[in-house]
């Protein structure tokens, strides 16, 4: 009790406290429910991809290349979570905190509502002052724990506890159930998608290492170059492979150093990412 505080001021403080407790409880419950929905939607979208939706969505103006695209399932889950959070918050806040506090402390409900209305009406009579003092005293003995629906919260937390590892596991393992009914046979652990899904084990991409048969003839090579943009109608791959890398008189068979258009385009992203990392490391070293 602050010195010089009138009963009405004490009551106003009490009502503010009740309101704050109500907001806290609302925030906790809405957040937990939103997280549960987010995880469940993410899990669903990971397990049952929707054919009409792209695997990733581009992020215009992303600060880093790594954030240039976002997983669609994650985006949908996040949107669903935000919607549920906003809805739960709105529904709960629709009922005033004093009423909700009164519901969980029924012996205090009418006194608290009356005191709230009296404060609003600027009432300051003898009986009103008595009501303020009495209500503030009883508020000190009341509990706001009941504002949380513990049973509901427990169930939702259980859902979160189950959905969180399942959702993360499904995303990491890339486990999917196709709804397309296509004739592709998918082996366990293998996906039907060609889209890039992050860094992979290089051995699985490049295959087992093998000894290269080295030649024993030393050849002087001359490297020439020619500006692009000519009338040459050959593709870049062809020109790079065969035309402009000369080796004196000896015709040298070039080995694969570029890429073939028809071959595993998804690997370009992987290579690009490796390059970016190598550059990053070099930059860090310098």
């Amino acid at each position: 009790m602050s010195k010089g505080e009138t009963p009405r001021e004490r009551m106003e403080r009490g009502i503010r406290t009740v309101t704050r407790e109500g907001q806290k409880a609302t925030l906790i419950e809405s957040t937990v429910e939103a997280v549960a929905v987010l995880l469940l939607v993410n899990l669903f979208m990971s397990v049952v991809p929707i054919a009409q939706l792209p695997e990733t969505v581009p992020v215009p103006g992303a600060p880093t290349p790594a954030l240039a695209t976002l997983n669609t399932a994650g985006v949908v889950a996040a949107v669903a979570g935000v919607c549920v959070f906003a809805m739960a918050l709105r529904l709960r806040l629709r009922r005033p905190a004093v009423e909700r506090f009164g519901e969980v402390n029924p012996e205090l409900a009418e006194a608290l509502r009356t005191a709230r209305d009296a404060v609003r009406a600027d009432a300051d009579g003898r009986m009103t002052a008595r009501l303020y003092n009495d209500t503030v005293k009883r508020l000190g003995e009341a509990s706001s724990l009941g504002l949380l629906d513990l049973r509901r919260l427990g169930v939702v937390l259980l859902v979160v506890a189950v959905a969180a590892p399942a959702s993360i596991g499904a995303t990491a393992a890339g486990f999917e159930v196709t709804l397309s009914g296509g004739d592709e046979t998918v082996a366990p652990g293998q996906t039907v998608t060609d889209e890039y899904e992050g860094l992979q084990n290089p051995d699985s991409v490049l295959g087992d290492s093998d000894d290269v048969v080295a030649g024993d003839e030393a050849v002087n090579a001359t490297v020439g170059s020619e500006g692009g943009g000519g009338n040459d109608s050959r593709s870049a791959a062809e020109s790079y492979d065969s035309g402009f890398v000369g080796a004196g008189d000896t015709e040298t068979e070039s080995q694969q150093a570029g890429f073939a258009e028809e071959e595993r385009l998804e690997d370009t992203k992987l290579i690009r990412e490796y390059n970016l990392r190598i550059r990053q490391e070099e930059d860090d070293d310098t």
């Binding site: 005191a115 009432a123 009986m127």
Partner: protein, 334 residues
């Protein structure tokens, strides 16, 4: 009682002291009301609900219409309440030949010092507690005179207005049987009674106690005057200050309004009933030691406030329903 209107200091501490003093007074007065109930209980066996409703009526500064068969102790009850509250008491036995001036008073010629002058001789209505026995036996003209005095708290005779003493209550009784030669009160006049209290037969144990108390040679216990007229007025003032939540007030008003729309009722209650519901709710809350009105207060007071303000439709009456049944349903609905 201490003076509650002490000066308020700028820092608020003076206000706090004043509030604490006022709270002590409130507690003290509420404790006194509890003692009033105990004292009435010395003479009146059972009838707790009737005693409580009568106290509510007094605290709410209203008038009550008591209805019961003869011999149920209405007069003893009212007299006891008057004794306990230390108020002046008068009784008017209504008969068809009773004239308005027999109640309000009349001008008589008085001789003093060789002079004759008209002097107003106050009638029995000039008392704090007036028991108007069998009010429905008086003629409409006499009833009107009494009810006007009851409403206005003043009497006008020969062009002069005389204020009735405060506090002032009329506790009227009427007998539901033996209606021959009676003049039932019109609805407009019954509306002026804050409550209509039904006095029912006592239970077997209570009746046994009544017989022991009044018919076996022992003198009934004397009751002590607990509450002075000044204290009663302070109680009435405080009871009016009891705060009520907006939703409870709205529900009380809605309850009164529902009586106007119900098919079982030919006539519903007036806005005076809405006021009466709130007022009696406040009075009951104060007597119960609370500083706010509860919905339970309104629920409890609904029947005594509304039963004489509504008129049953003949179909509902034919089906054996009473105004109390309809009011109970409407309380559930509100």
């Amino acid at each position: 009682m201490t003076d509650n209107d002490t000066d308020v200091e700028a820092d608020g501490s003076g206000e706090r002291v004043a509030v604490e003093a006022a709270e002590d007074d409130v507690d003290w007065l509420q404790a006194k009301l509890g003692r009033v109930r105990e004292e009435v209980g010395k003479r009146i066996v059972g009838q707790r609900e009737v005693v409580d409703q009568l106290l509510v009526c007094i605290v709410a500064d209203g008038n009550a219409l008591l209805e019961s068969n003869p011999g149920l102790g209405k007069t003893t009850l009212v007299r006891t309440v008057a004794d306990v509250t230390d108020l002046s008491f008068s009784r008017i036995q209504n008969t068809p030949d009773l004239m308005p001036s027999d109640i309000t008073g009349t001008e008589i010629i008085q001789q003093a010092d060789e002079r004759r002058e008209f002097v107003f001789e106050k009638g029995p209505i000039f008392a704090n507690v007036v028991l108007a026995d069998e009010i429905n036996r008086a003629t409409p003209k006499t009833q009107a005179a009494m009810l006007e005095a009851m409403q206005e708290k003043q009497v006008t005779a020969a062009g002069e207005t005389y204020q009735l003493p405060r506090p002032f209550f009329v506790l009227a009784t009427q007998n539901p049987i033996d209606q021959g030669g009676t003049y039932p009160l019109p609805e407009a006049q019954t509306d002026r009674f804050l409550l209509k209290i039904l006095v029912d037969y006592p239970a077997l144990d209570e009746e046994r106690d009544i017989v022991r108390l009044y018919a076996e040679g022992r003198e009934p216990e004397d009751v002590e005057g607990i509450l002075s007229a000044e204290e009663l007025r302070a109680v009435q003032s405080l009871a009016r200050e009891v705060p009520i939540a907006d939703d409870i007030r709205d529900k009380a008003i809605e309850l009164a309004r529902l009586t106007r729309a119900d098919d079982r009722l030919e006539f519903g209650a007036s806005p005076r009933a809405s006021m009466a519901l709130v007022l009696t709710g406040k009075a009951r809350a104060f007597i119960q030691g609370r500083s706010h009105v509860s919905w339970e207060d309104i629920e409890t007071m609904a029947a005594p406030v509304l039963r004489h303000r509504v008129v049953l439709d003949f179909r509902a009456e034919r089906e054996g329903q009473s105004p109390d049944d309809v009011v109970a349903d409407l309380v559930e609905e509100a």
